[in-house]
Symmetry: C2
Subunit: 216 residues, 2 copies
DNA sequence: ATAAAAATAGTACAATTGTACTAGAGCCCT
DNA sequence: AGGGCTCTAGTACAATTGTACTATTTTTAT
């Protein structure tokens, strides 16, 4: 019976360390290493490739999406399990297209995580209810021609900077002053973000910021 | 050397179970039980009182604040450690007044958690940088007469209902239609919430909803 | 070197949100 | 029976956000 190497990246130390403990208690997990963010995980992987990388979708330094993109590009043999707090299906679909191997909510049972680890290595994918629901929804919505297609919005640095300030409850005017920009410029960045993200008001922007780990 | 009983409440199963593992690895922790939310924790405590209760601030069914209030009222001997993702000092101050014994961010080191557990039982309080910062800030701000005082907003059921819909990106008009209320009524509830919470725009409302665990 | 993307700035108008009040009906508590 | 809170609804106006465009400069990538 083969034993596997598992790496995990999550910015919440307490959760991460607790997860390391848990992972070590799994019978067929041989070695566990942990990283505080995507960048650190990539460094670890560069030296030695694990069988499975568990990645938090919400991370401040390098978010889950970008981290996975890099891993898949540079180390296609590493299987990836995404952990997320929000069952935001917009990300899931995009990341499935990218080639991620499993998605789990942070409120799944440890048993399911264990199953998922073995499944991604042995069967290349772990199929659960969460994924099934997203796939079904995607099919029905594409049929009715509702949405163009979910894509994880990739914001520019400037856009992220402005989004952070929006989340600090600054108005367009205040942001313009703070960054020495015209109000119109800030307004344009705002609109562009809303288009990319696919929302049409401030609430959508703030929710995205939380769900993508850009704030808090 | 005395050993302690520790209970933990958190809605994220994976985190919670991993924490149970971690807690069991602490030398002076004798027994660990876990609950999915505040209500469940209170039921556990009714039958048998732990030395320490670790409570997540963000929980959907019964939030951390309310849970602690009940515990303190009914079982004043149980020491309480609050875990929170957001270092939102507004809650911290209010909960210190309530009589909570420690505050930890979810990205503290396991060592610190262990220290905190022993400290709350033996010295009745665990004083860390997070708490120190909040206290200092409170003093300076009270001196300059800036803010009335931070209090955890206690929203009514109707208000929470409307806040949830706001977070679903509905406008005042749409909420009015959905709940069969006048737009003006919805607008008033909105304003009242903003007053209670102490914010002055939608961003503040949505952030509160996240930080209080009302959404996601 | 050239095309694409990002950042800058503008105008104009519509829609929604934010502010500041008043006011009655119903409920709970003491 | 009165006080306080919640829920309801209103008016009126100010401020901000949202929509829909055009356009120039700078940076980045192939």
């Amino acid at each position: 019976m083969k034993k596997y190497k598992v790496y995990i990246a999550d910015d919440h130390t307490l959760f991460r360390k607790a997860m390391v403990n848990l992972l070590r208690s799994f019978h067929r997990v041989q070695e566990v290493k942990d990283a505080e963010n995507g960048k650190e995980l990539l460094t670890l992987i560069k030296y030695e490739q694990p069988d499975v990388a568990i990645v938090d979708l919400q991370m401040p330094v390098m978010d889950g999406a970008e981290t996975c993109e890099q891993i898949i590009k540079k180390h296609p043999d590493v299987k990836i399990i995404i952990l997320t707090m929000h069952d935001s299906n917009k990300y899931i679909l995009h990341m499935m297209e990218m080639g991620v191997h499993a998605f789990l909510l942070k409120n799944t049972e440890p048993d399911e995580l264990e199953k998922a680890i073995y499944a991604v290595v042995e069967k290349d994918f772990y199929h659960n209810d969460l994924v099934a629901a997203v796939l079904r929804k995607n099919v029905t919505e594409r049929k009715s021609g509702q949405r163009p297609q979910f894509r994880l919005a990739e914001l520019t640095e400037r856009e992220k900077e402005i989004l952070v300030l929006i989340c600090r409850e600054l108005t367009i005017r205040e942001i313009g002053q703070k960054l020495s920009l015209s109000e119109n410029t800030v307004r344009n960045h705002r609109v562009n973000m809303m288009d990319k993200i696919g929302v049409n008001n401030t609430v959508g922007l703030v929710k995205f910021a939380y769900e993508a780990g850009i704030v808090s």
